[in-house]
């Protein structure tokens, strides 16, 4: 009898352990996927830009506006789906800040008489957005919050990388370059904010 009870207890705890491990693996899988996605996105940005050697200023303007608009699109999904006050606050900030950056960019290109030109990098950004939106819309509740915030971490890392290593060095017009430099602190603060939330919702 004692043996039987012990056997039951061991089986039970084993199963619980298995379940926990599976859940953990699933989470890790997702994180790996996000990391891969961001690596691909960054790699996509880099290789495409290198292939075409340089982005022209109108192309840089298009990439900048698109990258900001994508984060507004993600924020708008979060504003509809999340119930977490901190996630909602973050999403509000993303929507407002990236709109302010777009407004600055549009004001500058208007002043310079430049028309943003769609290019391979813009297209790869938009392709990435489609995939991410599908993933986000398949989730609800806490699972959505986690997916949204970890994507924000990955996305801001990728955008910071692209702005620092591609857009700023390749911008020819001094005012365009200056604007790209000026938005860097905001992008970095957004990343730190997203990382902070990532920790608190995964506790």
């Amino acid at each position: 009898m004692i043996f039987f009870v012990t056997f039951l207890a061991i089986t039970y705890s084993n199963n619980k352990l298995k379940y926990k491990t599976m859940k953990k693996l699933k989470n890790q899988g997702f994180i790996q996927f996000v990391l891969l996605l961001s690596a691909l996105l960054f790699y996509g940005l880099e290789s495409k830009a290198q292939k075409s050697t340089t982005l022209t200023d109108p192309e840089i303007a298009s990439v900048a506006v698109t990258a900001n608009q994508i984060d507004i699109d993600y924020a708008n999904i979060a504003l509809l789906r999340s119930k977490n006050a901190e996630v909602l606050n973050f999403a509000h900030t993303m929507a407002n800040d990236h709109k302010a950056i777009i407004d600055q960019a549009v004001a500058l290109v208007t002043k310079l008489g430049v028309t943003p030109k769609t290019n391979a990098v813009t297209k790869s950004l938009l392709d990435g957005e489609k995939t991410t939106i599908k993933k986000l819309k398949a989730k609800k509740g806490v699972a959505f919050d986690k997916a949204y915030i970890s994507n924000e971490v990955a996305y801001h890392k990728a955008v910071i990388g692209a702005v620092e290593t591609l857009l700023i060095p390749q911008a020819k017009n001094a005012e365009l370059k200056a604007l790209l430099v000026k938005v860097m602190p905001a992008l970095k603060e957004h990343l730190a904010h997203a990382e902070m939330l990532n920790k608190s919702i995964n506790k």
Binding site: N96, A186, K188
Partner: protein, 119 residues
């Protein structure tokens, strides 16, 4: 009848103009008398930072926060005891200080600062 309404409106407007003018001049004198030696210290919000991040003031001094960024910020006491309204580019917020406090921007919680009152 029409004329009566117009005259009434003109009178009310006139009265309003007088009272608001009086209020203003009253306030000016009061502030000048109450805090003759108080200083105003300026904190600029720029590049997603409060600059300087720490200011030391005398009791009764005023701290003036001014947003020089392209994005909106605010000034929120650490424990949310009080908060400024949201400050778009070039908007200011003033607070008279008697005790030290820590603060942050609730829109960008990574941004933090400190006001110290020297004894």
């Amino acid at each position: 009848m029409k004329r009566f309404i117009i005259i009434t409106i003109v009178c009310i407007l006139g009265l309003l103009a007088c009272t608001s003018k009086n209020d203003k001049s009253n306030q000016d004198t009061v502030t000048q008398e109450a805090v003759p030696a108080a200083e105003t210290k300026r904190v600029e919000i720029q590049n997603m930072q409060f600059n300087p991040q720490q200011v030391t003031v005398a009791p009764g001094d005023t701290v003036l926060f001014i947003n020089k960024d392209i994005v909106t910020h605010n000034v929120t006491e650490e424990n949310k005891a009080w908060a400024s309204k949201d400050l778009p580019t070039n908007q200011e917020f003033k607070i008279k200080v008697d005790t030290s406090f820590n603060y942050y921007c609730s829109l960008h919680p990574v941004m933090k600062g400190k006001v110290l009152v020297a004894k």
